[in-house]
Subunit: 158 residues, 2 copies
DNA sequence: CTTGACTCTGGACTTTACTCCAAGGTTTAT
DNA sequence: ATAAACCTTGGAGTAAAGTCCAGAGTCAAG
């Protein structure tokens, strides 16, 4: 069977069926073709798209921001310079997030280290982690060799 | 002047004044001392704490998760092993987020490269960025050296 | 000592992102 | 061929995270 019903898509993408219709209304998913009966028929690239949305949300992007991300594609109709600028902006934003997460990670690693050494610290060390004024003038130079340790991603429950 | 009023704190931490009271109710900020009149008096470490909350939210953590992060501190009352385990969990979660962001970054960088080379691609390249199958139909759990494969639970529990 | 800015509380309202429901039509398995 | 399990729409309801408001008290400048 070539097409997915909305229920099958929901199951495969691990979202509620209503979420799919909601994303369609919000413009995050383009309206799929329909059978004569009105039933939606999806190609399986819709799975990829919905998963992308899910993950981007876990990374702190709003649905509007995700729509912007999804609109970043090159095609004969879009002007390249425009796309490039918007992509550049997103890249900076993402790099900012990576930096903050790296700081959090580092402080937590230090925390566990101190734990092992039997030290007792009464303040909360993670507090210093994110306390640079982001959105400031400092341009971030990322170090090469970023750490990729975990093969499995964790599902964060809400 | 040694203490900050709630208004001054709100200004310095760049949040709405009501947000501060809301965080206090939610337990993310401890109730500050008060003047005889009832006015809140903050020390300036509250600025740091509120900024941390703000940034953690931008990284996709819920207020409950942020409360957990803030509770990760060593002090004479907490058991070290417990703290360490919770910290380890958070570290994994953070590393997962970093990985996803790195993928997004990479695809966007590739996009701008293609742009520069004058190539035109009609699909949306960012879609592939986050499409590793995180816990699809089968979730693999590595537990104490043993690999367990079990089907995920049905979601439609109307 | 008055005036305007600030703060207090409790509760109501808003926004975002779903999630559920009703009432009906369609598909599919037995 | 009939029931179970789908799907349709529009609209209502929910949870999280604020944000606003009213009515009253407090503070600080002139």
């Amino acid at each position: 069977m070539k097409y997915l019903s909305i229920g099958q898509l929901a199951k495969q993408a691990e979202v509620n069926i209503d979420t799919i219709r909601y994303y369609e209304r919000r413009g995050l998913l383009s309206p799929p073709r329909r059978k004569e009966s009105g039933y939606r028929q999806y190609l399986d690239d819709a799975i990829v798209r919905i998963r992308f949305i899910k993950h981007a949300k876990e990374l702190g992007f709003s649905l509007d921001e995700i729509a912007e991300l999804l609109s970043l594609k090159l095609n004969p109709k879009t002007k390249c310079g425009d796309v490039k600028n918007r992509a550049q902006e997103k890249i900076s934003e993402i790099e900012g997030k990576i930096q903050m997460l790296e700081r959090m990670r580092l402080t937590l690693v230090r925390l566990t280290k101190m734990c092992e050494e039997g030290k007792q610290v009464s303040e909360c060390p993670i507090l210093d982690a994110l306390n640079q004024n982001v959105g400031k003038e400092i341009e971030m130079t990322l170090k090469s060799g970023m750490i990729t340790i975990r093969p499995l991603l964790e599902r964060s429950k809400r």
